[in-house]
Symmetry: none
Subunit: 195 residues, 4 copies
DNA sequence: AATGAATGAGGATTCATTCAT
DNA sequence: TATGAATGAATCCTCATTCAT
């Protein structure tokens, strides 16, 4: 197994373990067992437990940004773009339940280093939304008086809370597409100029 | 000092400490010092560290529900009610920054006992929103095809994310009233039937 | 048991354990067991394992300095003083075998903090010797051309090496008094001016 | 590279590393890096970390004994011999600072295997001194009532302490020759019969 | 009821040693 | 022979909880 593979294997295991027990309750030995490596091996790839969490965010959010930007590039209409963002975000929740849980829980951690982190990678992600809003305002589709800084937060928050619903409830009454559709249409109705 | 007072004093201290360091990083001795009692005294009022967190939610959210319901009772119009809910929720963030932080962070903890708890008290709180939506749909003000279960989550999530913005940023460009207004109007535009 | 007592009890235990296994091989749990306290209790009195060692030196050498100075105060003749110093030093080896072993072993540790320490407390101790030499030179008893800085080291080294002999060998062919006498007389012959 | 060369290279590296960090704080990987071999390679030449230390003593002290005996063979006078021994010992400190540090520190370790070792090789070294004393007593130069067993220890101790001075202090006020001269003359004055 | 010293279980991390390549 | 990634036993230290006073 190549070096990069083991690095990845540990991250995958950590995502799962952090997701199910939370960062603090997760034990290094849990991650090691899940990754089928020795405890000590983890320290060949990461400085410490916290470094695993940080790397997790860095790598996964980076991937997510790439994916979403690729999907958005196919589309012109800011209204459609908002829907696509919602859809992607919610899809992530289903496909990478564990990462979503980590995002859910750990992103709220108040430790300074995470806060610092947030203002880099995570903010890039959320700023995709304000970019869409901005574009829509320039095209005369969205109401010009709205502050993109507020909308992006509200939109992200709405999606995020929906994710929480999915993560915590096992039986899902609604499909992703329906939910993405419903949330984006509420927002679109809310922020669009009358035709 | 009466028994109830010390119980309360510890909860106030715990709110502050959990808020600033998070549940796991908070030490019982931190809370004891903040409450100006001995470490051991805490165990005369609470079973364990976790019990403090649970009690905190129970008591504080209960109070919050009472407050909000009182405010809503003054109002008939579901559209106004939604604005009032938003305003109250955001006001809480300012007035009880620490509790809001605890809500922000710990509510996301996936530990089973919290999950269990959420389906009681916290859900009551969020259900106030779906009650408003429902009422609005019955009165023919809100679009009848929308699922209150989704709307309530989206609305709460939007508010919650705005709170996060406030908690983590020190300088606030927008006022609470503006934000409550903007968010509720997006939603109201989004979910209202055309007049 | 009073607080100071437990502090002392731990130091006594540490002296014994460090003495028999050396600092690095000694386990905190060994010291705790020897002191009949819980492992954690040690950390109520000391910052860490290293702090125990440092405190040990500080307290024991301080006591030793007091004792030796008291004994020297009774005496005028620098020649007698040197003998008294030798006698006290060697007596310490017998009476506090463990501390002597710690001194033997750990004082040689090259860690910076110990080195730093040495230039304070331990140097005070050894400087008692150069004080005696100096006094003897002023009184015209010791050869004036000798450097007290060298003599003190040589004399201490000779005593120290004799201690090592005692500590490592179980059967002692010579008595302390004989040894103190022999070593001090070699030095006295070596450094005295012809009568 | 021949087998013996790598064996030697590791010992040289170990001398340096043990000397600067002490045996316990030295890491196998430090030695490996210093010797420019892989960690695992060390185990092809030594059984374990401890075996390196033992071999170090064995080989280096053996060399030292050969050197000193060669130098002493040139000389008849026991008084000159003592001076030569002192000079050689102190020269070692300058030339092989690291080995001297190892001697300084690790020789004091009380671990049983080292203690055992000491009674073989190291004792041979120190016994060179008692041999000189004995010879001097037979020749009627040194006082016959002195116990060579004590003198050898005291002399070695004095030299050893002087080494410590050199190793720990960077600026050396005295030259080796001066120091060797001063120490051996103190002893010679101390142990010689009046002419 | 209140205290805070004492407890000891638990876990992150290190590093000597092994072993597949 | 040589490598260095992998191992996992070992240990310092933390801190929730207890309990004698």
């Amino acid at each position: 197994m190549k070096k990069a593979d083991k690095h990845q294997k540990i991250l995958v295991a950590a995502t799962k373990v952090f997701g199910s027990k939370g960062f603090f309750s997760a034990r290094i030995s849990d991650i090691a067992k899940e990754a089928k490596v020795a405890d000590g091996t983890i320290y060949l790839y990461f400085h410490n437990k916290y470094d695993i969490l940080l790397t997790l965010f860095e790598e996964e959010i980076a991937k997510l940004i790439v994916d979403i930007k690729a999907a958005l590039a196919q589309e012109e209409d800011p209204r459609r773009k908002l829907y696509i963002f919602a859809l992607h975000h919610l899809k992530l929740v289903i496909e990478k339940k564990e990462l979503a849980e980590v995002l859910q829980m750990e992103l709220r951690q108040s430790s300074d280093s995470v806060k610092e982190y947030r203002i880099t990678k995570f903010v890039d992600y959320v700023n995709i939304i304000s970019g869409i809003i901005h574009q829509g305002q320039k095209s005369g589709i969205f109401r010009p008086e709205l502050k993109p800084g507020i909308i992006k937060r509200a939109f992200f928050g709405a999606l995020d809370e929906m994710s929480r619903l999915w993560i915590l409830n096992s039986d899902h009454s609604y499909t992703i597409d329906d939910t993405a559709d419903e949330i984006s249409s509420i927002f679109l109705n809310g922020i669009s100029l009358p035709a």
